[in-house]
């Protein structure tokens, strides 16, 4: 059914193209380059992150994959996923150096990244969140409320290496000891056994823990930071202004209101 739908869309887009008068006026250069190559190269992190992207080859699926395919259909070119980036920062780097046309990879908008690439309108707005070791929280309370402890956080905080939370941590918790780690599983294990005080990521990933590691509820506590937003958006090279407007249109039109609840539903369905 989905395939049929895509084929129909493809046909419609051909029809639209046919409607464009055969003029000599220049096509925007970023679009022209993609059309000439006849492929849209999409950069995506190597590690799966359901329900955004997971699986290999034909089995690759998720929200980010759907967005990429919609953009491809609209442009009338096939989509190729490039999945060799080891970190989220590397995905951004691939865009900056022109190794891919667009990055749709659950990318967070951050200050340093904004200086290197152009971001679309966010298609998901998550809140930042901490998974705190309960024992550490009690031992360091000294009569303070939890929010005071978090605002003056001075323990060991862990996050995925070269991810947006590396940046967020240094901005929001300047007094903390930073412990970057390549493996999220490892980070969760460490916060559960207390060797680090807190794991820092978005509320959605932290909610997933209660499904993947329900036993974590005993030793850890999830705290959502309601005024620290994590905007998830697609990224294109600074020169691809026209491609960006296409992506913005797709997001506004087809992926307009995705919240944590919907993501959770998608995640459970993908299981």
């Amino acid at each position: 059914m989905k395939k049929l739908f895509s084929t129909l869309l493809l046909l419609v887009s051909f029809a639209v193209q046919a409607q464009v008068p055969n003029s000599t006026a220049p096509v925007p250069p970023d679009i022209a380059a993609i059309k000439k190559r006849n492929v849209l190269v999409v950069a995506m992190n190597k590690k799966d992150s359901p329900p955004f992207f997971s699986g290999q080859g034909d089995d690759l699926r998720g929200l980010d994959v759907d967005i990429a395919r919609r953009v491809g259909v609209l442009l009338g070119v096939p989509v190729e996923f490039r999945r060799d980036a080891e970190s989220f920062n590397e995905v951004v780097e691939q865009i900056r150096t022109g190794k891919a046309d667009i990055a749709i990879s659950k990318l967070s908008v951050t200050g340093p990244r904004l200086q290197a690439v152009r971001f679309s309108t966010p298609y998901v707005k998550l809140k930042q969140s901490l998974i705190i070791n309960r024992l550490w929280l009690s031992a360091n309370a000294k009569g303070r409320e939890p929010y005071e402890i978090i605002r003056n956080f001075d323990g060991r905080i862990s996050f995925i290496r070269n991810s947006s939370y590396d940046t967020f941590a240094r901005v929001n918790f300047p007094n903390a000891t930073f412990v970057p780690d390549d493996s999220w599983d490892n980070i969760i294990k460490n916060v559960m056994d207390g060797s680090i005080a807190a794991a820092y990521r978005d509320e959605f990933e932290n909610k997933k823990i209660s499904f993947e590691k329900p036993e974590a509820a005993l030793s850890t506590k999830t705290i959502v930071i309601s005024d620290a937003v994590d905007n998830i958006a697609a990224a294109v090279p600074y020169s691809s202004t026209h491609l960006l407007s296409v992506v913005d249109y797709v997001i506004r039109n087809d992926f307009g209101n995705i919240d944590t609840k919907k993501l959770m539903k998608m995640y459970k369905e993908s299981k």
Binding site: R134, L135, L137, S138, A139, A141, E145, P146, Y147, I150, R151, N172, S210, P214, E215, A216, A217, L218, S219, K221, T222, I223, V224, I225, S226, D227, A228
Partner: protein, 422 residues
């Protein structure tokens, strides 16, 4: 067999308890529908308890003031309370030391999964920059506030038994000082209220087997069997603590009453059964008073000490807090050592005092007082405690009530004892 003797026979009571447990395990949904029967029964008990409480304490205080040796009794009440609270904490810590179990990673995983299923959607939300609501300032004097009644009718209305007791003490002392005809008349009226209440209690007793069946099956059905396995260590420790208090208290009452042990057990068993089934110490007051008078303890002393100790002297809670805190420490791998155990010992007494006037979940949550002293997180485990509390409350109420019956036995003279001891 007479229907009345059948309904009040201990065997009938025991069978309805066992039947209730079985029904709760095998027909949990049906058992829950029986819950209102139990609540109606407790309501009927409680509705008589407040006028009874009022009458009994007033009469108790007035008679006491007119007798010799009231000073001595006040001294004994203070010693009895402090001593019993300390003993309760020792029993709590002792049962932890004796039954200390290994917290394996498997058990922790099971408990964690349980916390996760019970604790849904309660994650915390904070802000980094936006102002947060200021927590209410804690004033130690506020603790005293909940003991002091400002409107006795409101307190009666809200069922704030602690405030009612304080009011009765103040009023009783004032009444006792007046020497007038009116005082005698009032004493007579109050005694009539007392007697009327007791006859209602006796009538209600005939329905106890049915209420027991309904209450116990609903409680067992609510807790479910699944959680028992996971929380078994905790339940066993609490049961050991509760049984220790009950045995020790019974032995002391036996020693003080100078009557055959079977006679003593026979007298106090009903109080314990009502405690276990109603989980309301207030509802046990008339039963406890009757038991102690039957064992020939001084009536006016009993009438005063039972309500006072039941409301103020939280023996059951102290034992509970000591065991609960040690359980939490065990979960979080915190070695306690001698210092830790001492902190638990005195912390539980403190928490027991702080829990005065609370019931149900609020009583359980007061375990945080001890946990804070040890810098232990109580929040997650609290969810588990609340889940098994219908059962724990039975143990807590039974040890609280029976422990205080023993305290009353210490405070009050026994007719059989008086000639020998002096």
């Amino acid at each position: 067999m007479n229907i009345k003797t059948f309904l009040t026979s201990p065997w009938t009571i025991l069978s309805s308890i066992l039947l209730g447990v079985a029904a709760g395990i095998y027909l949990p949904a049906e058992s829950m529908t029986l819950e209102p029967i139990g609540s109606i029964y407790i309501s009927l008990l409680k509705v008589v308890v407040l006028p009874f409480l009022l009458a009994t304490i007033l009469v108790g205080v007035m008679t006491l003031l007119q007798k010799e040796g009231s000073q001595n009794m006040i001294k004994k009440i203070v010693i009895g309370f402090v001593g019993s609270m300390f003993l309760a904490a020792v029993i709590g810590v002792g049962s932890v030391v004796l039954t200390g179990s290994e917290m394996t990673p498997e058990k922790k995983t099971q408990l964690g999964v349980l916390v996760n299923t019970k604790d849904t959607g309660s994650e915390m939300s904070i802000t980094l920059k936006e102002p947060m609501p200021e927590p209410p300032a804690v004033n130690p004097l506020q603790m005293a506030e909940k003991f002091i009644p400002d409107n006795i009718f409101k307190s009666l209305d809200m069922g704030e038994s602690l405030k009612v007791v304080i009011f009765c003490l103040i009023f009783g002392i004032a009444l006792g000082k007046i020497k007038s005809e009116g005082q005698k008349m009032l004493t007579n009226i109050l005694q009539s209220i007392q007697q009327a209440s007791i006859s209602i209690f006796k009538f209600l007793n005939y329905f106890l087997p049915f209420a027991l069946l309904a209450m116990i099956s609903a409680q067992v059905g609510k807790v479910g069997v699944g959680i028992f396995g996971t929380m078994l260590d905790f339940i066993v420790q609490q049961a050991v603590g509760g049984i220790a208090v009950i045995v020790l208290a019974t032995v002391y009452i036996w020693y003080k009453a100078r009557q055959p042990i079977m006679e003593v057990i026979h007298a106090v068993q009903e109080t314990i059964i009502v405690a276990v089934s109603s989980r309301s110490s207030l509802a046990c007051i008339p039963y406890a008073q009757e038991a102690l008078t039957r064992l020939k303890f001084d009536r006016s002393g009993v009438e005063l000490t039972v309500p006072l100790s039941f409301t103020v002297n939280r023996i059951g809670s102290i034992v509970y807090y000591a065991i609960a805190t040690a359980f939490i420490a065990n979960i979080y791998d915190m070695p306690l050592g001698v210092t830790g155990l001492l902190v638990i010992l005195f912390g539980s007494i403190l928490a027991g005092l702080a829990s005065a006037g609370t019931t149900g979940i609020l009583t359980v949550a007061t375990v945080a007082v001890v946990c804070d002293l040890l810098r232990l997180p109580s929040e997650a485990v609290l969810v588990l405690f609340i889940a098994v509390d219908p059962l724990m409350d039975m143990i807590r109420t039974a040890s609280h009530v029976h422990g205080n019956v023993a305290v009353t036995a210490y405070v009050c003279d026994n007719e059989r004892n008086v000639s020998q001891s002096t």
